[in-house]
Symmetry: C2
Subunit: 157 residues, 2 copies
């Protein structure tokens, strides 16, 4: 079991020219609510089944278990998720000693870009690049599990 | 992906004296509804994460994917399932060329015993032992996912 500490931000400038890699991600949710969120993800040619706690009493942290599974099996599971499958491109952007993962969403979430940083502890400080916008860590609308049910294109602007 | 074809029966006589093995099982559900059921099971000292389709247009069959996971991780996941964890003893009973698995439930499902047989095809015939009772394959109340939410002790007798 991993203990994931993550903070999420909107994006307000050019991160892409600073990225060192990118991955194509497709993911669907087999469970989006209590007690645990269950996600199937294909990232490039690898596939994973991931289980995360929805809450654990902390603002930034979640329990997480992840297992690599055969690509074909993940593809079959995603067929059951239908229209709720999320597609995004994940850009890896190094900023000082930290690494941001910036997700550019496609399909029904087109127009949305979210930067995430994983931390070692909740009060760890990190350098904030100029392209980093408003923090949305505690806004559940920006959770991928939420976006799979209520995509960005349907939000009231 | 496995294609599971299974039939379920109540039990009306002595199967236990004919059993060749038994396993202690604890299992909880991370998702009990669409699109897929996600189950964590500990059977003796081994643990599995299993994903099953809820429906696929057939009476007896479901898609199934199963992954072995570390025992400690399954124990941690089951803590999130709280009171909905199912406990049962599974007896293995050979009858002719077939194998029945007979689940004797404990805890909130005490008093319930269900025999299952897995088939190669939907119209495969098999020997019915004298202890086999009414077929309940299509009665969703006897699905473990249902029992985890509506245990047998709360059914109106």
């Amino acid at each position: 079991m991993k203990y994931e500490i993550e903070r999420k931000f909107l994006v307000k400038g050019d991160y892409k020219s600073k990225s060192s890699a990118f991955h194509r991600i497709m993911q669907g949710y087999l469970s989006t609510d209590s007690p645990l969120v269950v996600r199937v993800r294909i990232s490039d040619e690898k596939a994973y089944l991931t289980i995360k706690s929805t809450v654990n009493g902390s603002e930034f942290s979640r329990y997480e278990w992840e297992y690599e599974i055969p690509l074909k099996e993940a593809e079959d599971m995603l067929k059951f998720c239908g229209k709720s499958v999320i597609e995004k491109t994940r850009y890896v952007v190094k900023v000082g000693k930290s690494t941001f993962e910036v997700d550019e969403f496609h399909g029904e979430n087109e127009g949305l870009t979210i930067a995430e940083i994983e931390l070692e502890s909740e009060n760890q400080s990190f350098e904030k690049p100029e392209w980093l916008g408003e923090e949305v860590t505690n806004d559940i609308r920006y959770y991928n599990a939420y976006l799979s049910k209520y995509p960005y294109c349907k939000w009231k602007k």
